[in-house]
Symmetry: C2
Subunit: 210 residues, 2 copies
């Protein structure tokens, strides 16, 4: 399997954590989204939508969307499970993951920020304010009330909630978002960052980091 992703992409970071937790090996091919490599003809020949991360299977089939890739990995190798077995707890875990993946992260995608800058002429200060606003409202503020770490978001092993939370926190730091008032989130983060899987998946530990 080949994983196309960009070191700084939150969505790519999620997939990398899942791969590391499951001990699955893939060939990783970096795609620099900032330099537009995802719109280059060679890349579009493999991935017509020009997205990353993308998982290319050995038969050439491609899977897009980080959570769809992770659900596929979960079927490919069920252990360690990334969702609790209890249906209600699994739903609550997924709910945290989706709060980040649907309500937080997409609003700060480069394509969205570029639209604000280029089409709505939002100045740089306004862009920074936009980024921080969505990371907090609907994002970290919501998640803080949804978890009760022990020590991970949902129990004694990392789940899809942690997999989505840690890259979002990396992004919060990049954009200097205040993180006071989130003791539960920071406790879950501390537990995750003790694990080699989370460290190996970190953006700065990728070959394309700059």
């Amino acid at each position: 399997m080949i994983l196309y992703d960009y070191f700084r992409s939150s969505a790519g970071y999620r997939v990398r954590i899942a791969l590391e937790l499951k001990g699955l090996k893939v060939e990783r091919r970096p795609v620099n989204l900032l330099r537009g490599e995802h719109r280059a003809p060679a890349y579009l020949a493999t991935n017509p939508q020009g997205l990353a991360p993308v998982l290319e299977l050995d038969d050439g089939a491609v899977i897009t969307q980080s959570l769809a890739i992770i659900f596929y990995l979960e079927k490919l190798q069920p252990g360690p499970a990334l969702l609790p077995e209890d249906p209600v707890l699994a739903a609550k875990t997924l709910s945290v993951a989706l709060t980040i993946a649907c309500d937080t992260h997409p609003l700060n995608n480069p394509r969205v920020v570029n639209y604000l800058r280029d089409e709505l002429h939002t100045p740089d200060a306004g862009l920074d304010e936009w980024r921080r606003h969505w990371i907090l409202e609907g994002g970290l503020e919501a998640v803080e009330n949804m978890i009760d770490p022990a020590p991970f978001c949902f129990g004694s092993s990392p789940t899809l909630a942690d997999i989505c939370l840690i890259p979002q926190l990396y992004s919060a730091r990049r954009f200097e978002t205040p993180r006071d008032g989130f003791p539960r989130i920071l406790a879950a983060e501390a537990a995750c960052l003790k694990l080699e899987a989370f460290r190996a998946a970190h953006p700065f530990n990728q070959v394309d980091a700059e």
Copy 2:
């Protein structure tokens, strides 16, 4: 179980379709998001995050996020299955659902459009252009290349992909988004709209429709 949702909400519409397809009965309690009923003290007492849709279980536990609710319903009553059994096909189905749930719908949420209007002073014409832009780019344009209806998005029965697509098309019509050039999407829609489950879940068929 109690479902709190707003007739016009795309996310609520998804949950209603899933409930209808599975023949599951819930008590539906409308929450008017436009009038701010989700921020009223009585509502916040049950749902501190002030979100809708929310599924409240008989023991008082609440599940937020439409796709988390639908995954819970899938476990509660596995048939008819909302994801294909084949792992790659299931991943592709989920990928279409997430393309809509992550990359399209959240950008046009009322809270985002309100921010554009109130904080960035985007005029009404700019708001309409914003809505249509994201419904098309990353949304319908992407999905059109991801499906090959037979007659539903992925085979002979509706899946999570159809459940996310139909509410997004309702939204596309509301905001007068051009739908030419999407023959596959319109074919899947035609198949869905023949089913009573999709008709019963339609916004206009809810008691709070106005």
